[in-house]
Amino acid sequence: MNNILEVQNIHSFINQYHILQNVDFVVPRGSITALLGRNGAGKTTTLKSILGLTSVRQGKVVFDGQEVQGMQPFEIAALGIGFVPEHRAIFRDLSVEENLKIAERNKGELDEKREFIFNLFPDLKRFLHLRGTELSGGQQQMLAIARALVADNHLLLIDEPSEGLAPVIIENMIDVIGQLSKQSTVILVEQNFLVASKLAEYFVIIEEGKSVETGLMKDLEADKAMIQRYLGAA
């Protein structure tokens, strides 16, 4: 099976609002796919729909050959999907170590991956016993990503990783996500087109709750008119 995820014509609602109105794309295994679009286009809702946090009323979400729409979020996550939410969503009242430990699905996973995680994020090792609130913005983002690496996730959903970070930290983040893609498939929601184009091989453009364009990132980079039309950047 070449595609790890297939999102087939999904329609999602938040309360009475019809947010996703036909989103359709596939994610090839081992790739980085960027979800692009303007603010409010439905990118984060697409990630939440994949995870079952927003209810999918029509269409299918197929992960590793299994239909997951309608399942509970914790059941979907347990299949091997890791989510790094926007706004550096760590648990503020837990220490760095507790934030990592809580992501274990099987006992001892953190110990097995400790070296790998701390090689990627050396700061976390130094601040292991600090509470989440005591970390800088960049460190909180690193912790949010590291948390998704503790369990054996085959697919990582990363939402706006560069948001609010200094350029030097963004460079580091690009490097880290690039390394992660060697182990997991990644879906990246990113406002910063430069970041997305550096990382992703495939793209999906979402506009007003619909997937309007999909394809190879290198083709999008060459099509300045499309970038201007949908992303407002050239």
């Binding site: 995870l51 946090l53 509970q72 979020p73 914790f74 996550a77 347990a78 989510f83 939410p85 969503a89 648990f91 503020r92 009242d93 837990l94 507790e98 430990k101 809580i102 992501a103 699905r105 948390r147 369990a151």
Partner: protein, 349 residues
């Protein structure tokens, strides 16, 4: 040996509290000229009176601890929490007085009822969140309050007058064995606190904290959050029921006021005074609450309620983290404290 010393180090504060509280009746007895033998024989005047006040505080503290586990640790604001306490109190009273069951059977019945109630509350847990859960829990507890107050139930519950004349087992009769009752209530409080601290530090407890902070995030990590909330609810219900049982054994009348919203608000105030989610704040808050109420009532009579209420409003406005919460802070920001407090009450901190 190391395990023992670790236990002593980890629980140093509460163990010091235990020893001080254990010695307090004797020290007070010495001050009024009563020997330790007199205190042990429950014949000391002031020491016996203060033991009574201590028992009330310990019971309130156990009840407030159970509330803090739900609200402060797991993020569930239940306005029906008094029901756990009241059901246990009335069940104890009815089982001892009307059914004349042996004490061990009464205890078993109370524990069983605690679990059943927690499961009853848990039915709504997957469906409602935040303030909706608060109102649903209030609704459930109100039904029990109405039943207790019903004149049809007067033979069992005593309706609005309360349940009187509950025969207390001789070995913990608060009139003749006050010091023993005091020690038992103290042991329950200390044991509950130590157990709660261990629970909060355990992987299950950490998930409860994560649920309080952001339930969706906990779900995204693969946790069935409802299961963890049910576990917290059962532990909390059992604890509140133990407090309710002690209350029924200590007080001459089980008043229906323990079943109404006001009694849940008492737990909320105690936790707010001590510090939400700190656990030790529930103990400090119970002392503050009962001693303030006792002192003001002594000097101001009925108008004490107005002053007490004003004190709490001022307290929440200027000390939003509570006493223990403020002591743990490196820097006090009242505005940040309000924000955190209100987000906890809304249920999405």
């Amino acid at each position: 040996m190391t395990t023992n010393s670790n236990f002593l180090t980890r629980n140093r504060g509460i163990l010091i509290f235990f020893v001080v509280m254990l010695l307090a009746p004797f020290l007070i007895g010495l001050l009024e000229g009563s020997s330790p033998a007199v205190v042990l024989a429950n014949e000391g005047g002031l020491s016996k009176f203060l033991e009574g006040l201590g028992i009330e505080i310990f019971i309130l503290a156990i009840f407030a601890l159970s509330f803090d586990l739900l609200f402060g640790i797991t993020g569930l604001l239940s306005f029906g929490h008094a029901m756990f306490f009241a059901v246990a109190a009335y069940l104890t009273g009815i089982a001892l007085k009307t059914l004349q069951l042996p004490f061990w059977q009464v205890t078993l019945l109370v524990l069983l009822a605690a679990i059943v109630q927690a499961l009853l509350f848990s039915i709504v847990l997957p469906r409602v969140k935040g303030i909706t859960f608060t109102l649903v829990s209030l609704g459930l507890a109100s039904v029990f309050h109405i039943i207790v107050m019903s004149s049809d139930m007067i033979n069992l519950t005593g309706a609005d007058v309360g349940l009187q004349g509950v025969p207390t087992p001789a070995f913990i009769n608060p009139a003749s064995e006050r010091f023993r009752f005091y020690v038992i209530a103290l042991i329950f409080l200390v044991a509950t606190y130590i157990f709660y601290r261990r629970f909060v530090a355990s992987p299950t407890g950490r998930v409860c904290v994560a649920i309080r902070e952001n339930e969706d995030r906990a779900k995204m990590l693969g946790y069935s959050t409802t299961t963890f909330k049910v576990v917290a609810m059962i532990i909390s219900s059992i604890t509140a029921s133990i407090a309710g049982m002690l209350h029924a054994l200590y007080q001459p009348i089980i008043s229906p006021t323990v079943a109404d919203l006001g009694f849940t608000v008492t737990a909320l105030l105690i936790v707010l005074i001590g510090g939400v989610g700190t656990l030790s704040g529930a103990i400090v808050g119970a002392f503050g609450f009962r001693l303030l109420d006792f002192t003001l009532r002594r000097f101001l009579g009925e108008s004490a309620s107005f002053v007490t209420g004003s004190v709490y409003v001022i307290f929440v406005l200027f000390v939003p983290y509570g006493i223990i919460g403020t002591l743990r802070l490196e820097k006090l920001s009242t505005r940040a404290g309000w924000k955190e407090l209100f987000s906890r009450i809304r249920g999405n901190a």
